[in-house]
């Protein structure tokens, strides 16, 4: 006899629900395996005590009130905080809200993204008044005409030019006329980024003076 079969027989024997043929089978088992008698005694004791114990008391009308209370709880949980807005409007607003969130995130990213030319020098340079740019442009033209180096000389030369030529203004002009397709301007930017701190401060002072 398998264990689970023996368990079932002993349980049903203890409950008193076995038919005669099965009772004999159990009694035979109990003779063969006396240790089962102790188990049977515990099973009987459990069933006796359980049967003496009636159902636990519950408040009267508990089951009558159960469904209304459940309905309240379900509807509290499913009520929307935005229920005053018609559902069709909620459907229409939802994509807009998502779009706004995405736009905000993109804007935030752009504002936090490091600016390639966000150095102190560039910040000042880019805020220079248009008149000053025009003035710088004229001076650049004059300078280029006088020295005949327009577009033909290494841009690093410009950083070494005497102060009287306002070389910082050359940067000003070039940087403000930013055009990534213009190789010269890219070169100027590279020069600017490669300046030593001392030089940068010098240009900065000059720019302040110009402004």
């Amino acid at each position: 006899m398998k264990h689970d079969e023996a368990f079932e027989l002993l349980i049903e024997y203890a409950e008193g629900t076995l038919d005669d043929s099965r009772i004999k089978e159990v009694e035979k088992m109990l003779l063969e395996f006396p240790e089962r008698r102790g188990e049977l005694e515990l099973l009987r004791h459990a069933f006796d005590e359980l049967q003496k114990n009636e159902d636990t008391d519950i408040p009267s009308h508990y089951f009558t009130n159960f469904l209304p209370r459940l309905q309240d709880k379900i509807h509290q949980g499913t009520e929307s905080k935005f229920q005053f807005i018609p559902s069709w409007l909620q459907t229409a607003i939802a994509p807009l809200v998502v779009l706004c969130i995405i736009s905000s995130l993109v804007g935030l990213y752009q504002s936090l993204k490091p600016d390639e030319f966000s150095s102190a020098i560039y910040t000042i340079v880019k805020d220079i008044d248009q008149n000053q740019i025009d003035e710088a442009t004229k001076m650049l033209t004059l300078f280029d005409n006088e020295t005949n180096i327009a577009g033909a000389v290494e841009k690093t030369t410009r950083t070494q030019l005497p102060d009287k030529y306002l070389n910082q203004k050359l940067f000003t002009k070039d940087i403000l006329a930013s055009n990534t397709l213009d190789e010269n301007i890219i070169n100027d930017r590279q020069i600017l980024s490669q300046l030593e701190d001392v030089d940068a401060e010098y240009i900065l002072d000059q720019l302040h003076a110009i402004q």
Partner: protein, 183 residues
């Protein structure tokens, strides 16, 4: 109400008929309450768990696949929710987060002896069931109190019939042993 009727009600509920769900609740509320209550002796706690069982059913019924019958499905939710609550209580008790033992003050003078004895016996049996391992507790409640056939319990607990018989046998034996030593 047979299984086909229940499937019909589920379908109606899915189509937006709340009354169909209410019929299922009315049919099962007592059974579910008692399954929960056998495992969680306190009425208020058992009531909370029972309500949560039906709320879970309400929320999940739209995705109910019908692989098992509704009652197998909801019994499973009830048994698992009860055990989760028992685990949660054990954790709270371990960390002394709440006073789970409610102190009940009775005036012994106006309470008949018989009633007191009954209360004592009830508490003792509740403790005997509480001390069972989780699996045996589930099997005992479903078999003894709900009188479900092993085959149905096997579906609810997703286990083998042979294992269930062994679990039930050991559960009853442990209850007998506990009561023998405590009385």
């Amino acid at each position: 109400m047979n299984q086909d009727d229940e499937l019909q009600l589920i379908q109606e509920f899915r189509n937006g008929n709340e009354q169909a769900y209410n019929k299922l609740v009315l049919r099962y509320q007592e059974k579910i309450y008692w399954i929960v209550r056998r495992m969680i002796p306190d009425h208020d706690e058992a009531d909370d768990v029972t309500q949560n069982v039906f709320i879970k059913a309400y929320q999940s019924l739209k995705t109910f696949k019908g692989d098992s019958s509704f009652y197998t499905w909801i019994y499973r939710i009830a048994v698992n929710s009860s055990l989760n609550e028992i685990r949660r209580k054990k954790i709270r008790k371990t960390f002394s987060l709440d006073e789970s033992e409610t102190i009940q003050l009775h005036s012994d003078d106006d309470q008949p002896l018989e009633r007191m004895e009954k209360e004592e016996r009830t508490k003792l049996i509740q403790k005997a069931i509480e001390q069972l391992p989780e699996k045996q507790k589930k099997v005992f409640v479903l078999r003894y109190y709900e009188e479900l056939p092993y085959e149905e319990i096997a579906k609810i607990l997703k286990t083998s019939v042979g294992g269930l018989k062994a679990n039930y046998f050991h559960a009853v034996k442990k209850i007998g042993d506990y009561l023998k030593h405590e009385t």
